[in-house]
Symmetry: C2
Subunit: 475 residues, 2 copies
C-alpha cells in the first residue's frame, strides 16, 4: 500500500524559506536564491553573519531573528557549520532541511559518520533532511527552484534524480521541447529521505502523471521493487538506470557512493516492475513526451511512413531490432494510398514512401498517416519527417483522434533548431524555436511523441507496448 506522504508535501509547499550560503560576493548559494527570486517565491530569508542585504533581499544574521514562519531551510555552507545551523532550525521549528552541502558519505568513512550524526540530530528535532550533496527542490506550483532560468510553467512530470546538476539539465532540455514538470527533486546522498520516499510521494501526488528517474543505486532494493511495481499500475515510471556495466558501477560508486547492482538483476527488476528503461537524457525526455497521454498499442505491428525513402528503410531496421514487426497493409489500404500518392518515386508497401513530392504537398504526411494508421493490421505508426511544420500539428492531432493509435514522429531537425540565418525557411516552414514548445505540447497531449532518431522512436514504441502488456497482465 502506497502511503500518503504529508511530511514531504509540507516540504514541497513551505510558507517561508531560509537560505544559508548566499553572499554579496556571489557563489553557488546565490544561484539557489536567484532561482527562488525568479520564480517569485514570496518569503525568502537569506541568512548571513555580516551583511544586511543579499540580491535585494533583507538578510538576517540568524534564522531565529526571522519573524515569519520558516518550514524549509536550504544549507549551502561548509560542512563545519551544519551542526550549529541544524540546532537553530530545530529551535525555529523548521520542517525540512535541504542539505546542498557536499563532503559527507561520498568522501569516505569520516564523512559517513558525520552524515549519520547530522541525521540523528535532525530526527531527534523533528526535521526531515533532503541530501546532503544535492540541489534540492524545483516545484513551480509552490514557486520553489534551485537554479536560475527554470520555467514557471507547470507540467505533469515528476523527476527524481540522484545527480544534482543533471536535474537542472533535464528541466532546461525539456523546456525547449515543451515538457514541463510538477516537481523535480535532486536527492543527493539520501541520508534521511530517500528514493523510495519520493517515489511514494509522487505516486499520490495529484499533479503528477508520469514519474521520471535518474538512478545510480538503491539501498532498500526489496521495498523499491515492491513500490515501483505498485506505482507502475497507476503511473508510468521512466527509469534512466546507470551503472549497468563494470565501468559504470565503479563510476556510480565514486560519484554518489552507490552500489549500482548487477545488470542481469536489473533486467529482471525492469520486467517485474513494469518500469520503462531509457539510456540517456534525450530518450528520457522523449519518453516524457510519449507518456503524458499515451494511447496504448494492442500489438507490435508498426507502419513506417516517410518522405525520405532512405530513413524509411533505416526505420524498418530499427523497428525489427526493437522487437516490433512491420505490419502487412491490406489491399484496400494500398489502393487508398495509391490514390493520394504520385505515380512514380513512391511506395505503398510498408514502409510507405511518400516520395519527393512532400516538398510541395506536406499534407501527404498526415493523409498517409490517416489511411495507413486506420488499417486494422496496424497497431502503431512511426513517421519520419524532415522538420515539424505548423500545419502538421493540428492535422496530425486530427488523425490521431480518428485512428486512436500511438504515433511516433521522428524529425531530422531538432525542434529547438533555429533556421533564422539559413534560407531554408521558405521551403520547410519550420516552427520557430520560440513557438515550438507550445505547439508540441499539444502533440504530447494527443498521444503523439517526438524523437530525434528512428532508433529512439522504435525504442519508445517498443517500451509503450511493454508497458501496455504490463497493465493488461494485471487485469
Amino acid at each position: 500500500m502506497i502511503k500518503k506522504r504529508d511530511d514531504i508535501e509540507e516540504i514541497f509547499h513551505p510558507k517561508g524559506v531560509a537560505l544559508y550560503g548566499a553572499s554579496p560576493k556571489g557563489g553557488l548559494g546565490n544561484l539557489l536564491i536567484m532561482g527562488l527570486i525568479e520564480l517569485g517565491f514570496p518569503n525568502i530569508y537569506p541568512i548571513h553573519p555580516k551583511v544586511d542585504e543579499i540580491l535585494g533581499l533583507k538578510a538576517y544574521p540568524n534564522i531565529k531573528q526571522v519573524e515569519g514562519d520558516i518550514d524549509l531551510v536550504i544549507i549551502a555552507v561548509h560542512p563545519r557549520h551544519v551542526k550549529k545551523i541544524l540546532y537553530d532550525c530545530i529551535e525555529k521549528k523548521v520542517k525540512g532541511v535541504i542539505l546542498f552541502t557536499s563532503g559527507f558519505r561520498e568522501i569516505g568513512e569520516k564523512g559517513r559518520n558525520f552524515e549519520n550524526e547530522i541525521v540523528q540530530i535532525a530526527r531527534n528535532g523533528g526535521i526531515r533532511i533532503i541530501g546532503p550533496n544535492c540541489m534540492g527542490i524545483y516545484c513551480p506550483e509552490s514557486r520553489l527552484s534551485f537554479f536560475p532560468s527554470l520555467p514557471l510553467e507547470k507540467g505533469n512530470i515528476a523527476f527524481v534524480s540522484q545527480s544534482g546538476s543533471l536535474s537542472t539539465l533535464v528541466i532546461m532540455s525539456s523546456m525547449l521541447r515543451g515538457i514541463y514538470f510538477s516537481k523535480v527533486i535532486s536527492i543527493g546522498n539520501c541520508a534521511d529521505l530517500n528514493f523510495n520516499d519520493f517515489l511514494e510521494y509522487f505516486a499520490n501526488d495529484e499533479n503528477t502523471k508520469v514519474i521520471g528517474c535518474y538512478l545510480e543505486g538503491i539501498e532498500n532494493g526489496k521495498e523499491f521493487i515492491k513500490l515501483t511495481k505498485e506505482i507502475s499500475r497507476k503511473k508510468p515510471i521512466i527509469m534512466w538506470k546507470v551503472g549497468l556495466t563494470n565501468a559504470g558501477k565503479k563510476a556510480a560508486n565514486s560519484h554518489t557512493g552507490s552500489l549500482a547492482g548487477n545488470s542481469l538483476l536489473w533486467e529482471h527488476i525492469f520486467q517485474q516492475t513494469g518500469m520503462i528503461k531509457v539510456h540517456n537524457i534525450n530518450q528520457l525526455i522523449e519518453h516524457f513526451g510519449m507518456f503524458q497521454n499515451p494511447v496504448l498499442p494492442k500489438g507490435n505491428k508498426v507502419v513506417v511512413i516517410s518522405g525520405p525513402g532512405g530513413p524509411a528503410v533505416s526505420s524498418a531496421d530499427a523497428c525489427e531490432l526493437a522487437g516490433l514487426e512491420l505490419a502487412k497493409l491490406s489491399n484496400e489500404t494500398k489502393i487508398k494510398l495509391k490514390e493520394i500518392l504520385p505515380e512514380f518515386g513512391t511506395g505503398v508497401n510498408n514502409p510507405v514512401d511518400l516520395g519527393l513530392n512532400i516538398a510541395f504537398q506536406p499534407e501527404l504526411e498526415y493523409l498517409a498517416c490517416e489511411i495507413a494508421g486506420a488499417d486494422k493490421n496496424v497497431d502503431m505508426v512511426l513517421i519520419y519527417i524532415s522538420v515539424l511544420k505548423k500545419i502538421q500539428i493540428k492535422n496530425f492531432i486530427k488523425v490521431q483522434n480518428k485512428i486512436k493509435k500511438p504515433i511516433a514522429l521522428v524529425t531530422t531537425f531538432d525542434i529547438s533548431a533555429s533556421f533564422k540565418d539559413y534560407s531554408v525557411k521558405d521551403y520547410f516552414q519550420p516552427i520557430s524555436p520560440k513557438k515550438a514548445p507550445n505547439y508540441v505540447r499539444k502533440l504530447y497531449n494527443n498521444g503523439i511523441s517526438l524523437h530525434n532518431s528512428e532508433q529512439n522512436a522504435a525504442l519508445a514504441l517498443s517500451n509503450l507496448l511493454k508497458y501496455s502488456k504490463f497493465l493488461r497482465k494485471l487485469k
Copy 2:
C-alpha cells in the same frame, strides 16, 4: 588500382546545363533549377515546348536550339519523353544525363526493360547516365545543386546516397553543424554509373578527404569490397548501410529494388574493408565532423570528464558497451586535478566529476581536459558538457594541440538550438545558432568531434580506434 575518373569529373564540372521539366506552373523540376540559380551556376538552359522564360531564365523549345555548350542535361519529365530527349542529347554532344525521372526498374519488369533500353541508347551515343530515380549532383565548387537552400560553402566531405531526398537532408543537417561538402551524388537506380564508379571518383578527388555513404544494396559486391578496402587506406569511408534486418531488407527492395544482403556477411565486409559503420543521420554527420582531421588513438583507454556527474556515469556505461576501457589515471594526474577542483562535490577518479562549480568556472572543463588528457594512460577523451560556449572553442583547441589525442564532446543542447526566447542565455552563454557552424568547424579541424549523446560519442571513438587499427595493420 583505383582509376582516375575523368568521365565523371567532366559531369561534375559542366560548362552548361539544360533542364527538362521546369515549368511556369511550378513542380519538382523547378526545385532543381532553383538550386542551380541560387548557387549561381552561370549557364542554365530550361527546355520547355511552349514558354520563353522560366524563373527569369530564357527557355528553349529544344536543346538543339541552345547555342552554348551543354555537357550536362537534367531530365525531370514523364518517362515517355525520355527516349526522344536522349536522342537530342546525343546530337548536342552532351556528356552526362541526370535522369531525375522515376518509373524504371523500381516499378518492376517493364520498367527494368525500359531502363536497359535507355542505357543502351546512351552508351551508343557516348553519354553517361546518373540515375534514374535520383536527385543528381550537388557540387558547390562548380555551383551545381539539386535543391534550393543548399550552402555555397565548400567542404571536404563527399557523400554518395542511394536515397534522393536523404541527400538533401544530410546537406542541410550538416550545414547547421558546420559541416560542408565537396560533392554529393544521389545515384538512384544506377542504371549506368554506379556506386563503385563514384567511390572511385571520390577516391582520387583532391577536394575530398572523407567519403560518406548511404547504401541499401550493391550489385557488384566483389568489386565493391576490393575498392572500399583500397580507398579506406587513403580516405575514411563512413557507411550508413541499411537493410540489415529482414524488415529492412524488404524495405530496401521496395524502395530502390536493392538486394540488401546478409547482415553477418556485412559484418565481415566492414571488418575486412576498414569502412566505418553508422546507423542514422545524426551518427553519420557526427562522424563527418570527427573524421575531417582526426588524431588517431593508440589504444582503447578513455577518460570521461563531465560537469554533470550523472551523465558521467552513463558515459562510463556507454564506453564499456562500445568496447572502450576507462583509463586508470596516475596519482600525479589526480593530484593535479585536485589542485584545480573544489574540495567537495567533485571527483578525480575516472570519470572526472567537475561538480556544480562549472556554472561559474567553465574553464574547469578544458583545464581538466588538459590534465587528464596528458596522462600517459589515456588514449582519448570524452567530455560531457551542457552547452557549447564561445570561450571553450579556442581553449579546447589549445588543449587538443597539446595533448594530441582525440576529444569527443557531448553537448546536452543541440548546437543549432536557439535559446533566444528563454532566459538561460546569461548563465550558459551558448553560441548563437548563426555563429555555431563557423566556430565548430574549427573544432573538427583540430580533432575534436561533437555528439548528441554519450552513446554516439562512445561509438565514434570506438570507430576511430578501429580505423586506426585498420591503418596500422597495413603498415
